[in-house]
């Protein structure tokens, strides 16, 4: 027990150091962040404007009105942003495998996966967080949600869960490189699929696809189910206040399983000759 706390302290200390260093790079390269600040949010605001257009033409999407869609969209973009900050490195895992870049993490006394993600924190991901928050707040106002402490807790818990699900999926896809000894640029495809399944209610898709997104590739838990619960919109799988916590559970499960998959893959890691 004492040892576990000590270890947790160690990881916290390194995390703080890494975040400190990440913020220093912002101070050092302000032009960079300014560029991202402009280009990244534009992408999402345009996406959101599209929804507005669709809703205005058809009234609603699958029973979700404009405010509810904004709420869903905002939360999804927020967990996307968090996964971009902490887990985007997963997109490039294949290159690390093939080029032997895991060497340096393996010779250091910490978890390889932790070092892989946290020594490569992408602080510029916060530029995605801002449009997410704006659209989410807009949705909250439109839906007239009651902001209670429990509501805030639910939102935070589901955001953590959703980020873990996204991260877990990246880890899983990246880890396949250990087995195939090749690399695929899955990042962009995955992003597209994630956008299509988390920015809009999945109830608009055929039932078979909904089944897959609920039980096989649990993307439904990233935004659709917890947001339905927060807004009190009924679905056929799981309802009630507990759903955001289920999202966290699913997240922990996904990241644990993909972590094990990674660990098994790492045993097959062959570094690189010169």
């Amino acid at each position: 027990m004492k040892k576990a706390f000590k270890e947790l302290g160690h990881y916290l200390d390194v995390t703080i150091q890494v975040i400190k260093m990440a913020f220093l790079t912002i101070v050092e390269y302000p032009a960079n962040i300014a560029g991202w600040m402009i280009s990244n949010p534009i992408q999402f605001i345009v996406g959101f404007a599209t929804i507005k257009f669709v809703v205005e033409s058809f009234g609603e999407i699958n029973g979700w009105n404009y405010g509810q869609l904004a709420f869903l969209y905002g939360l999804s973009v927020m967990s996307h942003a968090l996964s971009m900050i902490f887990f985007v490195q997963g997109w490039f895992m294949g290159y690390f495998v093939l080029e032997g870049d895991f060497d340096r993490y393996l010779t250091r006394p910490m978890s390889v996966l932790y070092q892989f993600f946290f020594t490569n924190i992408n602080i510029f991901g916060i530029t995605d967080l801002i449009p997410g928050i704006l659209v989410f707040v807009y949705g909250c106002i439109k839906c007239a949600v009651q902001v209670t402490p429990f509501f805030v807790l639910q939102v935070l818990v589901m955001l953590i869960g959703a980020t873990l699900i996204r991260g877990g999926i990246y880890i899983f896809l990246g880890s396949t490189s250990f087995y195939t000894k090749s690399t695929t640029d899955f990042g962009m495809y995955t992003q597209e699929i994630m956008d299509k399944t988390t920015l809009y209610p999945i109830s608009m898709y055929p039932e078979s696809l909904q089944f897959i997104l609920t039980y096989l590739i649990p993307i439904g838990w990233v935004s659709f189910y917890p947001v339905s619960s927060l807004l009190g919109i009924e679905n056929s799988v799981l309802n009630g206040m507990v759903v955001p916590f289920v999202t966290l559970l699913v997240g922990l499960l996904v990241i644990t399983l993909s972590g094990l998959f990674f660990k098994a893959g790492l045993k097959k890691y062959e570094s690189a000759g010169n």
């Binding site: 260093m21 060497d103 340096r104 010779t107 250091r108 006394p109 045993k267 570094s271």
Partner: protein, 321 residues
């Protein structure tokens, strides 16, 4: 300190045949080939040794170093450092080791050297006091402080290797693995690096395992040599003993006053051109003095010199050329 026990490593290689037919074949039946890079290596290294780990290209040196430093999982066999298996207890055991690859940096290209050090300080949980002392000590040997604010990306090879060396020593490891640390370095950087290795070995009793293709490194640094080829142990022992055993001869070079060169007892004339002749003799059979005495009875000698079998001859023979 280090025990390597029946260590083996196979690499899997996807065989790709050229052309469309090959691509199709590969799809149906991915030809997986195994390379036996390291085959049944065993040896023991004591604390405080400097061991030269040598062999021709592709011998399996880097592969062995990577298994000893926790990077690769052995196909079979084990590496024990201070009695603990590095494969099973990687996170604990690597606290005792430092690793430097001359060919590629372990540092982050985008960070300044000092930032990388700072991060390592947290990763290895080094006290500020110990950290400052180590930096000062290493600075006095390598002169690191003048480049500490430079991004690694902008460093020369020599500066980068220095940075890597300091990074590998920050946590005061008991064992240091160096894979071709002197590759590409100029004479003065090489000299600094050798001095560094000698100093940390003397001051901190750091055990050093070093691979190199530079014979100077070996002559300067190593008392013990492990020679491998095709992943198999060829020689393991004291440098001078190996020299005596593999090359138990010397060559006497004699210059005469004319072109006639006589034979002498217990030696063989292996070369003769102009006034100069070379005599090869076994150290156990005779001495250079006896041969000179013998020769001078038959001819007048102008000058003599003795060629010892060098480390390069040893390696040529041990590699089987």
């Amino acid at each position: 300190m280090i025990d390597v026990v029946n260590l083996c490593k196979d690499y899997t290689l996807k065989r790709k045949e050229p052309g469309l037919k090959g691509a199709f074949k590969g799809l149906v039946n991915p030809g997986i080939e195994k390379i036996h890079a390291v085959a049944d290596l065993s040896f023991h290294i004591d604390a405080g040794e400097i061991v030269g780990f040598i062999g021709p290209n592709g011998a399996g040196k880097s592969t062995t170093i990577k298994m000893m430093s926790g990077i690769l999982t052995p196909s079979s066999g084990s590496v024990l450092i201070n009695g603990a298996d590095i494969t099973k207890h990687r996170k604990e055991v690597v606290r005792n080791i430092g690793v430097v690859f001359g060919q590629r940096t372990q540092l982050n290209w985008d960070l300044r050297l000092g930032e990388s050090f700072e991060l390592l300080k947290h990763i290895y949980q080094i006290d500020q006091k110990d950290y400052d002392r180590t930096i000062d000590e290493l600075d006095s040997i390598l002169g690191i402080k003048e480049i500490i604010n430079q991004p690694v990306r902008q460093m020369s090879l020599g500066q980068r290797v220095k940075g890597d060396l300091v990074a590998s020593m920050l946590h005061s490891p008991k064992v240091l693995f160096l894979d071709e640390p002197t590759i590409g370095l100029d004479v003065s950087s090489k000299y600094a690096l050798r001095k560094f290795i000698k100093e940390i070995n003397k001051l901190r009793q750091t055990t050093v395992i070093l691979t190199t293709h530079d014979l100077g490194d070996i002559q300067e640094l190593c008392e013990r040599l492990i020679i491998i080829n095709h992943g198999v142990m060829m020689e393991d022992g004291n440098l001078s003993e190996i020299v005596d055993r593999i090359a138990p001869y010397k060559t006497l070079v004699v210059e005469f006053y004319d072109e006639k060169a006589p034979e002498a007892n217990f030696c063989e004339m292996i070369e003769h051109s102009g006034n100069i002749a070379k005599y090869k003799f076994m150290k156990k059979d005779t001495t250079a003095a006896d041969i000179i005495a013998d020769l001078s009875k038959r001819q007048t000698i102008k000058d003599v010199s003795i060629e010892e079998a060098g480390i390069d001859d040893i390696i040529k023979i041990a590699y089987g050329h």
